[in-house]
Subunit: 483 residues, 2 copies
């Protein structure tokens, strides 16, 4: 049974977490740039307090005898976090954070200069530290499994190998058909088309508030170079959108993607607030919601038809079918963040296999650039022209977030599983009845927060979990089917 | 000597304070409105943690034997805060905060409906609680002195009586001369003139960045109905400005006033960060900086001449002399926040005398409205037409901040003292060399933070403290002199 002192201490953890989320959001949006020096200190100090508070309730959590699913969830989620804090000394985490901050600066410069060698020593040290974390946490099959589990509870190298092993040949087959057919891979002309920012902001606001019906009292939109979502609490969720000034689908889908995350945060059950369950069970499950709205729903014929009238100022007289193809263009190229829905998972696979080998020591950091380029060429038939377009393209490795990339593919698969099980009338999305979709998702996924581990949640609601064939079937039907 | 455990604990207090300042800023600027429910919980929890941390270092602070002025300052400032926390139980503070939140809502409604009776029970309870706080803290001469001291260290009823007793007859005399002369009290026509918000925002930005040279890397401007300044840390200071759409001087001086506060925050010595000295020694001293920039500098002939070319889109062809008189118009009327620099202190005096009597029990809340109107009429010859324009005009009493208003008059006096001692060439302000003014203020006032108590700081730098004749002389010279 949950004790009062446990609840009091946890409320302090809860308050610190909320403060840190706001501070993180502020860094990316409104903080004057020189504020970062003390902000980093403030956040490190709060994080350290948070660690201490969690360790103080270790015994309570260990001896908690859950009376229901909610208490079982609280025990599970807290235990995972306490286990991490208890296994990985604060000094190791502090070194990772410090290295990550320095390394991100070096990475930025290295990318501009196309100079892998300046970044290499930082990546070497980061890999060492992450191997140490994997050892400290322990594992059964493979050291990388302990890092995967941090982002996707229970995901192991064995399982991930199985997922990619099943997915990649099928996706390759679909991609070849798409390329042979030519329907989706010829440029529409809109890719390079500039737009005035005010116009695009107007469209973004219309789609957010009039189409997706995001709640104005609990939600806001700002802009930042790297779009993200911050759920401060159940009544305060914020996203950012990116405006590059051309190729309007990038801004449009940054909105829809982040709104998918935001809808999840907004629809967790109010009873979960003040508990550690007011979060998604995993990064992959959270990503499934952004990808579901971005791709399965947001790029569907029905949705494109629904928003087409609002895109009028941007589409230069193209027909709805032409806009549909522009929004769904498939074209292998080396940059992950520009990848389409079909080729995206090859980019993840390259990173998955590279990380696995870096962590088990079978690939050295010095061999990474060639491995990266070779794999990309093998999967997509394109070879990066430079380090900047290849191994240096992502910031994630400078942050040491090994194990994070695979959650993107998990997200895509889970989105396809969920989409498969949606049993609405055909005209729900086309007719803009998105409240029906949101309500259904609340009942099937959102309201539970982290009460159940990811696979258990999916099995309870859909009778299956990470089934890659749902993703292949969806993509095949969409791109080479007769729809 | 300061121990390590003391410093570690204080750093936690420091980090919590910074988080709470950001949370407070966010409430007024960008927070989605429904976020307030959990935000209040988050802040109450953090505040409670902050109290606990401070009590944990009580013995260290008590036994600290300062080796220099800085350690003496640390001991003094922390002891004042610990004494409060130790004397006033958390339940009393929590009740005040809860009542304050409820009471502000009731006050808003009461003001709209001109209904003092609905607000009365809340104010009754608030007075009771504040009397209790005064008793818990203790006092020598008068219970209200213990509340004054919370805002203005060392200020007592005896001293404040002396200040107002000296100031009011002199101000009355100057006001009569101004009214007899008629130079400053006839409307210019600009008072009701509307402006487009974009134009005014442009002017505000020009004056902030090109005239006042606020540092873009450490400073930002947002907008809110009630302008305020938040110093998150030495490298991150934010202000808000109010745009009402007419009478542009209101927006202009909300900028200059808040920039005065911001310059103070930005110019505290870097060595004070991580200590409790990185703050002003009192509300009055902080206010002296905003009032100095707003009035003594910002409404001077030199400054008006300096910014006149930038005001061109707003002044409808008026000459610089006409604009100077518009910006310095003197006109007694019942609303404090609209008051000019000369009549402002009468508004404060009314509130000072009312608060003193409410706290010592010689005035009941039911007698307050009439007392308020009578006093205002006596001082300014105007009588509020309604509760809304009289006793209900300010939010402060709903918050229970008894003792706060007098710091406004202290601020005006201190600004005049400082202005008197400024020994620049005549053309420093007129020529826009405001860096000279900022540097001088840094050396005389800002860099010390709260190292010395307010009066000691002033005596060290200027050889005098709250000398009301400086304010009278300044106003007399300006409004009825030959300048």
């Amino acid at each position: 049974m949950i004790s009062n002192s446990f609840l009091t201490k946890f409320k302090e953890v809860w308050a610190i977490s909320h403060a840190m989320r706001l501070m993180g959001w502020d860094i990316e949006t409104y903080m004057p740039p020189e504020g970062i020096s003390y902000r980093a200190e403030e956040m490190a100090t709060l994080n350290s307090m948070r660690r201490k508070k969690l360790l103080e309730i270790k015994a309570d959590v260990e001896h908690l005898e859950p009376r229901d699913d909610m208490e079982a969830g609280i025990k599970r989620v807290l235990w995972r976090e306490i286990r991490y804090i208890d296994s990985v000394p604060e000094e190791v985490d502090a070194e990772i954070n410090k290295l990550s901050a320095e390394s991100a600066v070096v990475w930025r410069d290295a990318r501009v200069k196309n100079d892998f060698s300046s970044f290499k020593p930082y990546l070497d040290r980061m890999v060492e530290l992450k191997v140490k974390v994997a050892q400290l946490l322990g594992y059964n099959d493979h050291p990388y499994s302990s890092l995967l589990d941090l982002y996707e509870e229970g995901l192991t190298v064995n399982e991930a190998d199985g997922i990619f092993g099943s997915l990649l040949p099928d996706l390759k087959r679909v991609l070849q058909k798409v390329e042979a057919e030519g329907r989706f891979n010829s440029p529409s002309g809109l890719e390079d088309e500039p737009y005035p920012r005010e116009i695009m902001e107007g469209v973004v606001n219309e789609i957010a508030y009039d189409v997706l019906r995001m709640p104005r009292g609990k939600f806001r939109i700002d802009s930042s170079p790297h779009p993200f979502t911050t759920g401060i609490n159940r009544h305060d969720v914020r996203i950012t959108v990116r405006y590059e000034g051309f190729d309007f689908k990038r801004a449009l889908y940054s909105l829809i993607h982040e709104s998918g995350h935001a809808i999840y945060e907004l629809q967790m059950d109010e009873s979960l607030e003040f508990t550690p369950l007011a979060q998604a069970p995993s990064f992959g499950v959270h990503e499934s919601q952004s990808r579901l709205w971005e791709n399965n729903i947001g790029r569907s014929k029905g949705f494109v038809g629904l928003i087409y009238p609002r895109l009028k100022p941007l589409v230069k007289g193209k027909s709805v079918e032409e806009v549909y193809r522009y929004l769904n263009a498939v074209r292998p190229q080396p940059i992950r963040v520009d990848a389409d829905e079909l080729t995206y998972n090859f980019h993840i696979a390259v990173r998955y296999f590279a990380e696995k080998k870096l962590i088990d020591g079978s690939l050295g950091v010095s061999e990474l650039p060639e491995f990266f380029d070779d794999m990309l060429e093998e999967y997509l038939g394109v070879r990066p022209k430079s380090y900047s377009d290849g191994v240096l393209q992502d910031i994630h490795w400078s942050h040491g977030s090994f194990g994070y990339f695979p959650s993107y593919t998990v997200g895509n698969i889970v989105a396809a599983v969920i989409y498969h099980h949606m049993d609405f009338e055909d005209d729900v999305i086309r007719g803009g009845k998105l409240e029906v979709v949101k309500d259904w998702l609340r009942e099937k996924v959102h309201k539970f927060g982290a009460t159940y581990p990811p696979k258990e949640l999916l099995k309870r609601s859909f009778g299956e979990d990470y089934n890659p064939t749902r993703l292949v079937d969806y993509l095949e039907r969409k791109y080479v089917g007769t729809e």
